[in-house]
């Protein structure tokens, strides 16, 4: 009897234990790695690497492993997504139906006898990188053995849980593309490999949450025309729509004994560059250490060097210029490097306001700017004097108005009127020229810019300076072909240059 009871108790304990361990198991799968170079593809390096890792993973004690053979349809869809084709939402839904929690994806690049292999385990719900590992090696097997050892030590249940918890509140970032900026770089094909290595290194950081690039391939490798000298424009919105706040891209150029890498971080909501850097190494051996350094730098920049400024104005929709750079209209939320910044707010009919603020990192600084309405009294007085043909009086009054409200864009009309009077009524072509030149320089976006160039042309004509007259007319015809002032210039000066 005692023996029977003991046996029953032991059986129940084992049953309980196995139930417990079944509940705790997390489901993993490994998919074929992307071959980034022709030579890697030719020797099936991507499939080989995934196969080696799959064999090691399948002996994992704390997670349930789904063999790739069971997921063929999902893997086929994933290949399409990695090629930038196919619906990523449909892929996500399929992954969920297979009850996979984490997917291990990766890439293999081969350059001569040198392999770069990267492996990343991602949460299939949001494609956040939960674990990454990479290796430079002389063969696929050595690299995969290194990755396996790394996974055994650093990919534990506790690590995963900690990472899941921490990344929930971190800034979200993804790597876009590193363009190959010269012929040597294009021939070498380092752009794709570097993007993957950086992807892995960002995934290993603890103060930013990196999203797997595979998930974004439809955006990164979109069927877009390739311009010389213009990279990455137009993708910020697509990243922002996917909940990614920061996008990293850059350019690689290769010279003898020098690999130059320029990198920048864009805020996808503001569609502007918030951080830029440059580094140089002597050979491919430096790719991985450099990527680690850049990842550290980016993490530091986002968390310690960059703060957020929130500007509101009364009235709203004022033009905001920050540190001399037009930044949009208020209300405005913008990321800037920490420290002091100059801000100008301008709105038609109101005096421009110039202020200085000091930004703290990783914080939102709020500023409300109240603009003062411009009084048109001085301008009306000047117009009145003009109508009464009191030219000197009108010029003096326009000057008073200009000096009083010189930072406001509305002043451009007063400057134009002043130049017009000087040229046509005071017959002072030299003074008129100086006035029109100041209009062009100080108010580059003014509505009277074409008129200012026309005024300059007429001034040069009066001064009998045919060379400068010709130059100015060329600028007028090239830049403002559809303006009335340009049409009038055509009549006055007898046709286009």
């Amino acid at each position: 009897m005692k023996k029977l009871i003991t046996t029953i108790i032991i059986i129940c304990m084992f049953a309980g234990l196995s139930l417990l361990s079944d509940e705790e198991k997390i489901c993993f799968a490994v998919t074929p790695f992307i071959p980034l170079t022709e030579s890697a593809e030719a020797e099936n390096a991507g499939t080989n690497a995934a196969s080696i890792l799959e064999n090691s993973f399948s002996s994992g004690k704390w997670f349930e492993f789904r063999k790739s053979g069971e997921l063929q349809s999902f893997i086929d869809d994933l290949s399409l997504a990695q090629a930038g084709i196919g619906d990523e939402n449909a892929l996500l839904a399929k992954g969920k139906s297979l009850q996979i929690k984490y997917l291990t994806v990766g890439s293999v690049a081969k350059f001569g006898n040198h392999y770069e292999i990267d492996s990343r385990s991602v949460n299939i719900d949001n494609w956040g990188i939960m674990h990454s590992s990479g290796c430079s090696a002389i063969d696929v097997e050595s690299a995969c053995n290194f990755i396996n050892k790394d996974v055994e030590i650093t990919l534990t249940r506790e690590d995963l849980e900690k990472k899941e918890k921490e990344t929930a509140n971190l800034p979200i970032i993804a790597v876009s593309r590193f363009e190959e900026g010269n012929l040597k770089a294009q021939n070498a094909g380092y752009g794709g490999a570097f993007s993957e290595v950086l992807n892995s290194e960002l995934g290993a950081r603890s103060k930013i949450a990196a999203v797997e690039r595979t998930h974004l391939k439809s955006v990164i490798d979109a069927k877009e025309i390739e311009m010389c000298g213009i990279y990455g424009s137009g993708t910020d919105k697509a990243f922002s729509e996917r909940g990614i706040q920061y996008r990293v891209d850059g350019e690689i150029k290769i010279f003898p004994s020098s690999i130059c890498i320029r990198y920048k971080v864009n805020s996808t909501t503001e569609e502007r560059t918030i951080y830029m850097g440059f580094s140089e190494i002597g050979s491919l051996n430096g790719i991985r250490p450099l990527a680690r350094k850049i990842a550290q730098e980016i993490e530091d920049a986002i968390n310690n060097k960059i703060g957020t400024l929130q500007i509101q104005t009364q009235p709203s929709s004022a033009d905001i210029v920050i540190d001399g750079q037009p930044s949009g209209k208020s209300p405005l939320l913008v990321s800037l490097v920490k420290g002091e910044h100059s801000i100008r707010a301008s709105f038609q009919g109101y005096e421009s306001a110039d202020i200085s603020i000091v930004l703290e990192p990783a914080r939102v600084t709020e500023k409300i700017i109240k603009l003062e309405k411009i009084s048109t009294e001085l301008y009306d007085q000047a117009v009145n004097l003009e109508q009464r043909k009191n030219w000197e009086g009108a010029v003096a009054k326009y000057d008073e108005y200009i000096n009083r409200y010189n930072t406001s864009g509305d002043v451009n009309r007063a400057v134009y009127r002043k130049g017009h009077i000087q040229l046509l009524y005071l017959n002072d072509a030299q003074a008129a020229l100086a006035t029109f030149e100041s209009l062009v320089k100080r108010y580059p976006d003014s509505e009277t810019r074409a008129e200012a160039y026309f005024g300059m042309a007429r001034s040069y004509k009066s001064l009998k300076d045919n060379e400068n007259l010709k130059s100015i007319l060329e600028i007028l015809y090239q830049k403002y072909p559809n303006e009335l002032a340009t049409e009038e210039a055509g009549y006055v000066f007898g046709g286009r240059y």
């Binding site: 980034l36 590193f178 213009i230 020098s258 320029r262 430096g286 090239q478």
Partner: protein, 247 residues
């Protein structure tokens, strides 16, 4: 006994060798940076910087700063390039090249208004400076002012008939404007100047596929692209495009 001792010593030595400290990541990076410092391009930069101290006047200083800016830009060190260009402008504000160098650095930094001012200054000083017109074209393209961009690129190629980058961007902008035949002409011009320019073939592929509706030529162009750029980052995608066109 002697043999046993020899074997044990060998094992000890081997284990010491394998346990000897591997280079840290930081040290590897330092070594790589040192190699790069001795690259020809950096030696050239050092020579120019040394030459600055013996420049005889502001004009020469401006020229040297301009050359330094150009090399820094070529490398991709945009912030240094911009600073050098600023110095070039400071020492000789009448230099079209200096304003151009400053303008193109500002453009990469997405400081569009400032870039425009500098590039406009460059062309007002020297209307025949084709690279300035080209960068103005790029600026207008970024702002989506495609018609203006075409005008600027056309100006650039009229001044320099071998300016394949300007022809490429002209063709690309005409593609965006759906002006198929004109776009094709521009791309064919690139091909006649620089037939090994890989991105040209991708662009032609897009043109034939999406505007001129010639699937055969599109597939052929994409294949040419992969032939010239077998390690292109988007190679997997391009292969799918070819497959889709051929089916």
């Amino acid at each position: 006994m002697h043999r046993v001792i020899t074997i044990m010593m060998s094992i000890l030595i081997l284990s010491l060798v394998s346990c000897s400290k591997k280079k840290s990541v930081e040290d590897m990076l330092k070594d790589e940076t040192k190699i790069a410092e001795n690259a020809d391009i950096n030696k050239k930069l050092s020579e120019l910087k040394t030459k600055l101290s013996s420049a005889k006047d502001d004009f020469e200083r401006s020229e040297i700063h301009g050359q330094i800016s150009e090399i820094e830009f070529q490398k991709g060190d945009i912030i240094s390039s911009r600073k050098s260009a600023n110095e070039a402008v400071k020492f000789y504000p009448q230099s079209a090249f200096a304003h151009y160098a400053l303008g193109k650095s500002l453009l990469i930094e997405s400081r569009l208004s400032e870039a425009e001012t500098e590039l406009n200054t460059a062309v007002s000083i020297d209307q025949k400076h084709a690279p300035s017109w080209y960068e103005l074209g790029n600026l207008n393209y970024i702002r989506k002012n495609y018609t203006n961009a075409v005008t600027m690129y056309q100006r650039a190629v009229s001044l320099n008939k071998n300016f394949y980058e300007a022809y490429n961007n002209l063709g690309s902008t005409l593609y965006v404007l759906k002006k198929g035949k004109e776009s094709e002409q521009a791309f064919l011009k690139v091909q006649s100047i620089k037939s090994d320019f890989a991105p040209l073939y991708k662009n032609m592929g897009l043109l034939y596929e999406r505007v001129l509706n010639d699937k055969e030529k599109a597939a052929a162009s994409y294949k040419e692209y992969l032939k010239r750029r077998p390690n292109a980052p988007e190679r997997a995608a391009v292969k799918f495009w070819i497959k889709a066109l051929e089916n």
